[in-house]
């Protein structure tokens, strides 16, 4: 796989798949047609995404947040689909703001998976659906595996000014499942390895681009 390093502040993608290992601190992505983007970095402060009409964007993030404050803004025009998958391990103190501005006939699927590695994470997800926008599906799903429940704060914010909207927010925070751990240990896997398999699997579970490549 070729991972690219993006140095310019704007990137235009049309009908393509790219794997990105690094981006500038402030960065804008313009997407048209069917686009898949995998970002293996969490080092940016503001990422803006613009979707053209009738386009579909699958954007996935995998990496470690460490003392990171990031904001991601998604602006989607009419008749678009956004599959947004963000999978991170967090250390130290972090903040993630995801802001979506959704137009008519849009489907936004926002999935976030976070695994604590001794640190804290504040997540704010703001979905804004403007007046007169119709046929919108907005789903926000945040799941975290933590050692300590206080290490994560989830702050959903749905600003819905329209009636023809299905908007869903769900969040679940838990520790590594006892049953899963027991199952892996019963196969002779050490506790340490079992925990890391479960955490990795939990993160990778929402990522599709690696799957698509197979």
């Amino acid at each position: 796989m070729n991972k690219i390093v993006v140095e310019q502040r704007n990137l235009h993608l049309n009908e393509e798949s790219v794997f990105i290992s690094s981006v500038p601190d402030e960065f804008t992505l313009y997407s048209s047609g069917d686009v898949c983007v995998a970002l293996y970095t969490m080092h940016f402060t503001h990422l803006e995404i613009y979707l053209e009409r009738n386009s579909h964007l699958l954007v996935e993030f995998l990496g470690v947040m460490e003392n990171q404050k990031s904001k991601i803004s998604i602006h989607s025009q009419e008749n678009t689909i956004v599959d947004f998958h963000y999978a991170c391990t967090y250390k130290q103190k972090n903040e993630l703001v995801i802001e979506s501005i959704v137009s008519s006939n849009a489907r936004n699927y926002i999935k976030i998976r976070a695994v604590e590695d001794g640190g804290s994470l504040f997540i704010k997800a703001v979905g804004t659906i403007l007046e007169q926008m119709k046929d919108i599906f907005y789903l926000e799903e945040i799941k975290a595996i933590v050692k300590n429940n206080n290490s994560i704060t989830i702050c959903p914010d749905l600003l819905v000014h329209s009636h023809e909207v299905v908007a869903n927010h769900n969040a679940s925070i838990g520790t590594v499942s006892d049953n899963e751990l027991f199952y892996l240990k019963s196969l002779g896997i050490s506790e340490k390895q079992a925990i890391s398999l479960i955490k990795e699997g939990f993160l990778k579970g929402i990522l599709q681009i690696e799957e698509l490549k197979k």
Partner: protein, 250 residues
């Protein structure tokens, strides 16, 4: 191989097993029968050192105290459980788990190609698609596929003591044949000890256990040969043979 002596098991102050005794030697096939809720699955989990249960008494595995071992150690000592309800784990594939399990045992002598070839061959013999190799553990698999998937693990890990907790439940006629033949083939090749738990006659007819035990009132109230299983299928657990046995035991 396995000796359970005077075992008491409780969970949240509820006693599930009391004065439970069982001995299984190398190469023997045993079946444990008992009504729903009798405690059959409980003993399988206790043997795997599930930490939910409070346990008193002794269990010896090859002369060593099993209760002093961790779940990982019990598995590495050659015990393998096909659970009644195999757990699903998203994002963790069969291949990954098996490679890790073999590595952690220091038994991963195969290179990637050999490893894949072995898995592919096993899938064929178990009549499941070779795509199972890279599927998430039991995720979105049908009931029958899960059981076959567990046998895939068994063949890869080569255990010497196998516990099958209702491996026949939810299997269609053909799948039951495939599963039973696979177990028999494994038995012929490795001569492991097997502890079967089932409510159905068919699997026992195919696997022909030499020893049958009835679990009732928290302990084994009667043991015998295959004829005892047939009696149970005829009379049930409150039938005359089992009732009398209980009186004898007290």
């Amino acid at each position: 191989m396995l000796k359970v002596k005077n075992l008491s098991v409780s969970v949240q102050d509820k006693v599930i097993l009391e004065k439970f005794n069982l001995e299984i030697n190398a190469g023997e096939i045993h079946v444990l029968m008992g009504a729903n809720g009798a405690g059959k699955s409980t003993i399988t989990k206790v043997l795997m050192r599930d930490s939910h249960y409070k346990v008193e008494g002794d269990i010896f595995l090859n002369g060593k105290s099993l209760l002093a071992m961790s779940t990982t150690e019990v598995a590495q000592a050659g015990v393998f459980l096909v659970a009644q309800n195999p757990v699903e784990i998203a994002g963790v594939s069969n291949a990954e788990v098996l490679r890790t399990a073999l590595n952690d045992r220091g038994k991963n002598t195969m290179n990637v190609l050999e490893f894949n070839r072995k898995l592919t061959d096993l899938c064929k013999r178990l009549e499941i698609s070779s795509s199972f190799i890279h599927r998430d553990i039991n995720l979105n698999m049908s009931g029958g596929e899960k059981k076959k998937n567990e046998l895939l693990h068994m063949w890869m890990l080569e255990p010497q003591f196998i516990i099958l907790d209702e491996i026949d439940s939810g299997l269609d006629v053909d799948a039951l044949q495939v599963v039973a033949s696979s177990i028999l083939e494994y038995y012929e090749k490795y001569k492991p000890s097997i502890l079967i738990i089932t409510h159905q006659k068919k699997l026992l007819e195919l696997l022909k256990p030499q020893f049958v035990h009835i679990l009732k009132d928290k302990k084994i109230v009667q043991s015998g040969d295959y004829a005892l299983a047939e009696k149970v299928f005829l009379e049930g657990f409150s039938g005359a043979s089992v009732m009398n046995a209980r009186v004898e035991n007290e």
